[in-house]
């Protein structure tokens, strides 16, 4: 059969959002892949330059749709660096809890969509339903399901209600129970092993040079996590271990850096996040939750360059904020983890892959197009 072209997306069930891969296929094997993005380009960075420092908060959370809180946290941290603020202890703990809850929600979504891509539709149905319980917590805490606009420069928008820890604990227990079901149906399924092991393998020696971060990098055997490298929020006071490749707990260890290991890392980090939230709830001190803000309309941020990074469920999120001492930022540049995963890494991994595995590779990299395009 002669070579033909295949378009995966933008309207295709096997694509991770609104983006497109242009594949040249020979028989069943992809010979060349080209990523085509820009379907979600709203020009955020341009918009932020014409808005006040506080007006940017509702914008930044829209950069990563499945996990918006990391954006708010990173932007706030960058502004705090410029202002030279130390945020109150209670705010740090609340931020930790919110970020970890968002991580669990994002991981559940990632696992669900990955399972859909290999054809087991039970898991997405379950995991999306379970994710909704976390959104319920967010609704009680912040008033919104998806875009919370909760983490602000200087702290969090309002204090955590006294009844919330009980609800969080209940939800976490429920999710822990459900994870056992996921293991039975997906992570210990023979067909999953057949499908995922050795597929979309990132060459581990090249991983860092290619710019792989987050769970994908940890699946390659590098135990790097921004939460440990550059502790933000309250991560320096919380005891947790990084999950990385050879140490997969009760699961079988196979090849490093393939779709199987990447998904298992995500699965194990849900448990890790549950542990972190429990500790944070226990250690959370009383006190103020936010610093006093200057008048937002006349708020000038001192001149300088600030870079803040956080660990999102997809990898390293970075905000580069430049101020000239004015009312508005000069430049806000966002480093989305999918920027490297979706373009450079995916194009290389798709080369030589079977077309049956294309969707699986993309979902196991957990590519999120909005943070490529912004």
């Amino acid at each position: 059969m002669k070579e033909y072209e295949l378009f995966i997306g933008p309207q295709h069930p096997g694509i991770t959002g609104n983006m497109m891969y242009h594949l040249w296929v020979d028989g069943d094997t992809v010979t060349k892949a080209e990523c085509n993005v820009g379907y979600l380009h709203r020009g955020f960075e341009k918009l932020m330059e014409s808005r006040l420092w506080m007006q940017n908060i509702p914008l930044v959370c829209r950069i990563c749709v499945p996990e918006p809180d990391v954006n708010e946290a990173a932007y706030s941290m960058a502004v705090e660096q410029l202002m030279g603020w130390e945020i109150p202890d209670r705010a740090r703990y609340i931020r930790t809890i919110v970020l970890e809850l968002a991580r669990i929600a994002a991981y559940l979504m990632a696992i669900g969509s990955y399972a859909g891509s290999i054809g087991i539709y039970t898991i997405p149905q379950w995991s999306m339903g379970d994710r909704d319980y976390i959104l319920d917590i967010f609704e009680q805490l912040t008033g919104a399901r998806v875009y919370h606009i909760y983490i602000w420069p200087g702290g969090v928008r309002w204090d955590m209600p006294a009844s919330l820890p009980r609800l969080i604990e209940k939800t976490l227990n429920y999710i822990e129970e459900r994870l056992k079901l996921y293991d039975d149906v997906l992570f210990e399924n023979r067909v999953f092993f057949d499908r995922a092991i050795g597929v979309g393998k990132i060459p581990c020696s090249k991983a860092i040079e290619w710019g792989v971060t987050g769970p994908n990098l940890r699946a390659c055997g590098y135990g790097y996590d921004v939460r440990k490298l550059e502790p933000y929020a309250a991560y320096d006071e919380i005891d947790f271990d990084i999950v990385s490749y050879p140490d997969l707990g009760k699961f079988d260890v196979h090849e490093a850096g393939d779709a199987y290991t990447r998904m298992l890392i995500r699965r194990l980090e849900i448990e890790q996040s549950i542990g972190i939230i429990r500790q944070a709830l226990e250690k959370m001190p009383e006190g103020e939750h936010i610093l006093k803000h200057p008048n937002w309309l006349r708020w000038k941020v001192p001149e300088g360059y600030a870079f803040a990074r956080v660990e999102s469920s997809k990898g390293e999120f970075g905000y580069f904020v430049v101020s000239n001492g004015g009312l508005k930022p000069v430049r806000v540049h966002v480093r989305g983890p999918s920027y490297t995963h979706g373009i450079n890494v995916a194009e290389r991994l798709l080369q030589g892959a079977n077309i049956a595995d294309v969707s699986q590779i993309l979902f196991s990299l957990d590519i999120c197009p909005p943070d490529i395009e912004r």
Binding site: Q81, R309, G318, F320, R331
Partner: protein, 156 residues
């Protein structure tokens, strides 16, 4: 900080090294840092300083062992925006250069893939330049298009 020691200049800014370089020193500096543990290229940002008449390119690099972040900054002329491509050192610089090329109109010599990236068939000025007026563009481009009003019960 290790990067400042290695390159012999620079200052500390909010816990990160900010190193101002000349254009011709950059390639050497990136290579040197890469050999010395700065093996993670974080990103390439561009800042348009309209009043100073220059573009500032910031190359962010990260060292996993030393936990150190280095920002290598260079200035290029705004009217003659040409720069040498660094994509042979880190493969992902290629994508960042594509974006900067599209958004600011900076040409990167040596990058063979400066094709349209986020925008499609964009005939206007590069949109991220400070002199591109977004609001005026929106008025001209989108607001001027008329609504199509049908009769009643013909949908909205």
């Amino acid at each position: 900080m290790k990067s400042i020691e290695l390159l012999g200049k620079g200052e500390e800014m909010h816990g990160r090294a900010y190193i101002k370089l000349n254009v011709n020193e950059l390639e050497e500096a990136i290579k040197k840092l890469k050999e010395n543990g700065f093996n993670h290229f974080v990103m390439l940002s561009c800042i348009d300083w309209l009043d100073k008449g220059k573009f500032e390119l910031v190359y962010h690099m990260w060292n996993y062992e030393e936990k150190e972040h280095a920002m290598l900054s260079i200035d290029i002329d705004r009217n003659n925006a040409v720069m040498k491509s660094m994509s042979h050192i880190f493969p992902q610089i290629e994508t960042y250069e594509r974006e900067v090329h599209e958004m600011y109109g900076i040409k990167f010599e040596g990058n063979t893939r400066l094709t349209p990236f986020l925008l499609e068939n964009w005939p206007h000025d590069p949109p991220m330049r400070k002199d591109f007026d977004s609001k005026k563009f929106v008025r001209q481009m989108y607001e001027s298009i008329p609504f199509i009003e049908g009769e009643e019960n013909e949908g909205i």
